[in-house]
C-alpha cells in the first residue's frame, strides 16, 4: 500500500495547495554541527505529515525553521500563510494565568480587543473540551489537560499551518492516545496543514496522511510513506493488520536510517 520514495516530493501534493514547503533546506549551526541537509518536503492544506527519526536528528530544527525561530543556512522555505500555530513539547502555559487567560494570550499579543479575545478563547476551549476549567490555574490541571489548553491557545489564531514539536511525548500512554483522537477530530474539523514531530511510529501512522523518516545527523529525509486510511479516522484501525504492517515498515525504515 505504501510507496517508499527517496527524497523527491510525491505527486499527490502537487494537486493540493502547498502551505508549507522546504526546498533543499540545510541547517548548519555556528558551532559546525550539520543538523539538516537537503530536505525537500511540502505540506498542503488537509495534509498531516509526521516526521519520525532518532533523537537529535534535527526534527525539531525543521519546525524551528518553519516557524521562523531559526533561519535555514541554505535552501528556501516556502510559506503561503501567516497563520501559524506552534505547539511546544511542554504546554508552556503561564503559571500565573488561568486557562482563560492562557488561551487568550496569543490573541492578546496580536493586539486583538478583549471582547474578540474572550469569544475566540471560549470557542477554542470548547473545541478542546476544557469547558468548566476556565478559572483553573495550570498547576490545578493534569498534564493532558495542560496540553489541551496549549492546543486551545494555538487554535485562537486560526492556524492554517500547524506545527507540533512532540507535543504528547511527556504524557502517559492512555492520555496520549486520547489526545491523538482529539487531534484527529480537530484536524478533520479545521482542515489545517499539519507538521508533526514524534518519536512514536504508531502515533505518526495513526495521525498522518503521510509519514517521513529522517536519518541521524545530518538529518535527511530517507523515506516517505503515504498512509491510506481515510479521514475521519476510525480509532479501531490501530488494531488492524494493515496498520501493524505499516508501523512495521516505517519502523524498519527508521532502523535502517539509524544504523
Amino acid at each position: 500500500m505504501s510507496v517508499e520514495t527517496p527524497v523527491a516530493p510525491d505527486q499527490q501534493v502537487q494537486e493540493r495547495a502547498t502551505l508549507l514547503g522546504f526546498h533543499d533546506v540545510a541547517m548548519t549551526f555556528p558551532n559546525g554541527t550539520v543538523a539538516l541537509s537537503g530536505v525537500n518536503l511540502t505540506v498542503g492544506r488537509g495534509e498531516f505529515v509526521s516526521v519520525v527519526g532518532p533523537s537529535g536528528c534535527g526534527k525539531s530544527t525543521l519546525l524551528r525553521i518553519a516557524s521562523g525561530l531559526e533561519s535555514a543556512s541554505d535552501g528556501t522555505l516556502e510559506l503561503n500563510t501567516d497563520h501559524i500555530g506552534y505547539v511546544f513539547q511542554d504546554a508552556t502555559l503561564l503559571p500565573w494565568r488561568d486557562v482563560q487567560g492562557n488561551v487568550e494570550l496569543l490573541a492578546e499579543l496580536a493586539g486583538r480587543g478583549p471582547k474578540i479575545r474572550r469569544e475566540q478563547a471560549a470557542k477554542a476551549i470548547k473545541l478542546v473540551g476544557l469547558e468548566g476549567f476556565e478559572k483553573h490555574l495550570p498547576k490545578q490541571l493534569s498534564g493532558g489537560m495542560r496540553m489541551r489548553a496549549s492546543l486551545a491557545r494555538s487554535f485562537t489564531l486560526d492556524p492554517e499551518v500547524f506545527l507540533f514539536d512532540e507535543p504528547f511525548g511527556a504524557l502517559d500512554e492512555i492520555t496520549r492516545s486520547r489526545l491523538n483522537d482529539e487531534l484527529l477530530r480537530l484536524f478533520a474539523e479545521q482542515h489545517f496543514a499539519g507538521l508533526f514531530i514524534t518519536h512514536s511510529v504508531a502515533e505518526a501512522v495513526y495521525l498522518s496522511t503521510k509519514v517521513v523518516v529522517m536519518s541521524g545527523r545530518p538529518g535527511k529525509l530517507v523515506g516517505t510513506f503515504d498512509i491510506p486510511f481515510p479521514m475521519p479516522r476510525d480509532p479501531d484501525i490501530r488494531y488492524s493488520p494493515e496498520f501493524a504492517a505499516l508501523v512495521g515498515e516505517v519502523s524498519h525504515a527508521l532502523k535502517e536510517a539509524h544504523s
Partner: protein, 280 residues
Amino acid sequence: MATSTIEAVTAPARTVTPKAPRRSRNAIRWVGPVVVFFVMIGLWYALAAIYEAKGQGYFVPYPHQVLDALTDPDEISALSSALLHSTEVAMTGLAIAIVLGVAWAVVMSQATWLERSLFPYAVVLQCIPILALVPLIGILFGYNFQARVIVTILIALFPMVSMTLFGLQSVAKQQRELFQLQGASRVTLLRKLQFPAAMPSIFVGLRTSAGLAVVGAIVGDQFFQRGNAGLGVLIQVYASRLQGPQLYAAILTASALGVLVFVVFGWLGRLVVGRWYDFS
C-alpha cells in the same frame, strides 16, 4: 471520539494530598518554638542572677525589669518616636533600593554584554564592608536623614538586584519563544512574561532587603547623630549611661521592627504570588 472530551471534563483537578489532621499539625508547629522561648527566658534569668551577684546587674537586667521599662510611659514615648524615625529611614531607603535594584536588573537582563559589564559591580557592592564607607558618606552627605538613607540603600540594594535578575532570567526558553513567535516587543516580553515570572524571586529579594534596610537605618543612626534620633541613637545613649533595662528595651524594639518587616513583606509576597506560586 466525543467520549474523550467527556472524560477530560470529569477528571478531577484538585491537587490536595491527605495530611495529618490540622489541629495536631498546628500543635507540633507551635510547641517547639514556645518551649525554646521559655528555655531562653530561663537562661536569661540565670545570666541576670549571675551578673547581679557580681554587682553588674545593669549589664544583664532581669527580663521583668526590661518589661517594666517597655511599659513605662516616658520610655514608650521615647521608643515610639525613635521607632518612627528609624522606620522612616528604613522604608525610604528600601523604596529607593527597590527602584534602583529592579532598574539595574532590567538593564542587565536586556543583553549578555550589559550583564557582563554591570553584574560585577553588584557583586563589588555586596563585598564592600559598608561600615568602612559610612564615615565618608557622613562627610559627603551630612550627618542626618539623607546620609542615613544612603547607608540603608547601600546595605539593602544587592538582594534586590540579584533576585530580580535571577527572576527575569528564570523564564523558560520555550515560553520566551512563544512570545517571540507572535513578534512581541521587549517591553511586552518584560511586562507580560518576565516580570510576572520574576515576582516570586523579587519578593524573596524584597523580604531580605527589607530586613537589611532596618539594619542600615540603625547602623546609620549610630554613626550620624544629627537630625531626628532613631533607635540606633537611643541604643547608644542608653549604653553609654549604663541604663540596662532601657537599653534592652530599645534593642528588643529594633529586633521587633526587623521581625515585623520580614513578616509583612512575606505576607505581601504570598498575597501577590501565593495563588500560583508556593511562596514560603
